[in-house]
């Protein structure tokens, strides 16, 4: 191996390592300490709410961190909602989505107006299709 090949290999390794390090630090979904996590076919999602815990009838917001399984941040469109599957109804509000970059999103305008089992839903729309991720949360009295 001549010195040019060695240089090319070294540069390639450095760039790859830098990329992986950046991707991993930008999207630490797997290592997140968030209370809520879910994984789908293509994406993993971590969520934190504010305030936490969620209270019946109180407004709360959520921060999401979404990555694909190669730890690349999700850059597509996000649609969010929540329902009570057993009651067959959703919220009376539609959360708004703010894109924060690096796979991070802020959702405002959640209100769970009844105690019981709620299901967060997140539709992730990317150029290669849409994936729905769900998180269940039982809201106590």
């Amino acid at each position: 191996m001549n010195w040019q090949s060695l240089l090319r290999l070294t540069c390639g390794l450095v760039i790859t390592l830098a990329f992986l390090t950046q991707a991993a630090s930008a999207c630490p979904t797997a290592s997140s300490t968030a209370v809520y996590k879910t994984t789908g076919k293509s994406y993993a999602l971590a969520m934190e709410t504010n305030p936490t815990p969620i209270q019946v009838g109180k407004v709360f917001s959520a921060r999401l961190h979404i990555c694909d399984h190669q730890a690349r941040p999700f850059t597509g469109r996000l649609k969010a909602g929540a329902t009570m599957p057993l009651h067959k109804h959703g919220m009376n509000y539609r959360p708004s989505v703010s894109v924060l970059g690096d796979g991070k999103f802020r959702l405002d305008g959640y209100v769970f107006h009844m105690p019981g089992m709620w299901q967060f839903s997140f539709d992730l729309k990317a150029s290669d299709g849409t994936e729905r991720l769900l998180i269940e949360h039982t809201l106590g009295p």
């Binding site: 019946v56 057993l86 009651h87 109804h89 009376n92 509000y93 405002d108 009295p141």
Partner: protein, 403 residues
Amino acid sequence: MIRLALLFACLFVGETGFLLAVTTSYAGDFSETERSVILSLGPWPPTPIRDSSNQASGNADAIALGEKLFFDRGLSKGNLLSCADCHQPDQNFADTVSLNRGHGKIDRHTPSVFNLRWSNWFGWGGEADSLWAQSIRPVLSATEMAATPAQVKNLLGNTPALACRFQKAFGKNPGDLTTDNVLVLAAKALAAFQETLVTGQTGFDRFRTALEAGDAAGIAKYPTDARRGLKIFAGSGRCTFCHFGPLFSNGEFGNIGVSHFTEDGRVDHGRYGGIRALKRSPWNLLGKYNDDPAKANAVRTRHVRTFQRNWGEFKVPSLRNVADTPPYMHNGSIQTLADVIEFYSSLDEDRLHTDGEQILRPLNLNERGKTDLLAFLQTLSAPVRRDRVPTDKPDRCPGIPAN
């Protein structure tokens, strides 16, 4: 002597054992889940929170102005009606008829105006997102007080006692402000007064406190039939899905199958119409009259949307003082509380709109269950009291005696 001592000891142990048994029995009336639900129905009252959208909230001078306005028939067309003519203080700030009349026929029952400071939506359809915006609606409604903004400004500007109060509350002369601004500030004073109307501690509240503290004597004071009714309410009846928290209301809206046709055959759009009216209103919290510049209090208004199921939905009313505020439902169509229980006990699921509340099921109560539930609801009553806001400023306005 020893025999006597042993007898006392046995009696003491027996008595203690009996007390323990009573404690266990009373606490054991409820499952852990039911106990959690019961504790979530208090404590009462919640912490008073100042309304950040209303500069008059908690202001003693504004409260005094609001009280004067609440009883002033000058706020209506022809000086015929005041707020207090429908929201009557000696009737729990409500009235006793199904549907009242103002300047025209009113389609909805008069709700009470106590404990409103903890609400997020106002009116049976939630047409307003603040108490002050709600206070404007009946003043201008053609079927209620039918006043005009100009009339409100004229009243406040040309009645010395009111103008003086207005000046003290807001630091401005009504004559120097636009008509709309005087209307909004008058409504904010009305809201500040209504915020002070709070119901007191009830028999249920005392029981809840005792239950939380494990106070056997306090628990034992709560009537047995009410306790059985509470078990239905917090358990099998699943009433707390909607009648949740210290207000006994989740503050939102539900369709329980009560007709949404008015007496003359028109459709009351309920929550659907309420949201549309809210979005159109120049007085909603997204507008310029919100006193919070950041509008952080407008999150619900910003995110509420109309859904198909909103048709036929009406506000879930608080159950505090429910036994004292007949008739019931948004259209006053049920005359007694016993009949309300009968309504829920024999609920006709076929009458529920397909988009109605899916969790509703007939309670199918027997006669004792019905009387127990009634007994529980009767323990939710307490006199309405005024939360006085202390002030050390002497009152020098004309027509109003000095403090």
